[in-house]
Symmetry: C3
Subunit: 172 residues, 3 copies
């Protein structure tokens, strides 16, 4: 079972994903992609940590997501990735070749993973066109990634004000 | 009955809320949170005024929303608040203590209010991450507020291109 | 049959509209509103061209959309306009009089058109309020246009991560 959970900033998407992980009844591994590059991000990471159950296993991987998924996905285990947007931003900072290789690796590994997978990401494409070319690039890459990930998942939800809207639900 | 109506800029959320107020069949009090700080805002206020029925009672309260709700909510009356986003912006301009106190007061008063309540707000979290730290702060506060308000309302709608999408509907 | 397809940047709205056009079973005319003003836009135009069937008829019209619709709409033909947002941006660059005249002309011609019409546009109003006054103006004009177009169409879809959400569906 593969679920993709998309939502705006502070939409409650992470809390919803955590609820889905708990409801799975499986042991949970939380895969964090954030890097504490500045105080604001460090505070966000700390808040996310405080909000999730302390007994969940934690894996931190800012770049090599496909390899981390392959290493940690397991039958009867729930793997929660929060979030794809930060991972994409980390890759963009590294360079185009890394971005292309890692997103391709993710799309290749996705269909092969056992267990319950939850992927969280940020909707960033519904505002005005950004003036900054890098922001436009990021928005385009995020939109393309969301389309291909949604296509490969069984269930896709969009979270608004803490309330999930089901965009796709393929019975197993 | 408490309704929360969320939508993007010029999504038709105010018109939808006004239709809901009219359809309630109750006397309507319109609670405006806007402050005419500049010409653009003054023009928006004037347009909103022209669009709503002239016989509705009007209350203007940019900051002390919880107190205004307590004073004006009544059984067999519909109270329409337009909008929470401007109120939040007004509070952010005053300072963190006012913001924390007033948002807490709103969440406390909400479950106690009689009559029909309609709360309108702006979705601001589905674009690219803003460069400006204050804009990021505003976006975070708005998102958190929307989650807690949605949680305390019976009905939540998201308006796109004038068309409401029901995100939550708890039969009374 | 008139369909309005709205979505964020890289949401898959164009691909969805193209699928709808193909599924109509009719001959398709693709009406492009883009102008290759810079390299980035030229690349987008080239990508769109590569993604759509080569046998579709192509009409390019950046400004006089109503006249082009009148000229090319026909019974048993599908006319796909991609997209209203670029057309609106082109008009804003020309000036307020052109904008007012052309949007009014579009709303007037819409109900009179024969055949199957697909109109694509970008949601731009769900991010933070833009600092730039022109961006705010564009966002307001786009939101207003989307409301009136949605009102005049039989079917309205909002596309997120490649997945369409039906906002309106009036059986013929």
């Amino acid at each position: 079972m593969k679920e993709f959970i998309l939502g705006g900033a502070r939409s409650g998407k992470s809390a919803f994903a955590q609820r889905r992980a708990t409801d799975s009844g499986l042991g949970v591994t939380y895969l964090a992609t954030a890097q504490a590059g500045d105080a604001e991000m460090a505070e966000r990471i700390a808040r996310h940590r405080a909000e999730r159950p302390g007994h969940w296993a934690l894996v931190e991987e800012p770049l090599a997501l496909a390899a981390a998924l392959r290493a940690h996905a397991a039958p009867n285990r729930c793997l929660l990735v929060d979030c794809l947007t930060l991972w994409l931003g980390n890759l963009l900072a590294v360079g185009d070749a890394a971005l292309a290789a890692e997103t391709q690796a993710l799309l290749t590994v996705l269909p092969t993973l056992p267990g319950h997978l939850l992927l969280v990401s940020n909707e960033v494409g519904q505002g005005i066109v950004p003036v900054n070319p890098l922001a436009r690039r990021f928005r385009d890459e995020a939109g393309r990634l969301h389309q291909t990930v949604a296509d490969r998942c069984d269930r896709v939800s969009f979270v608004i004000a803490g309330l999930p809207l089901t965009l796709k639900d393929c019975p197993a």
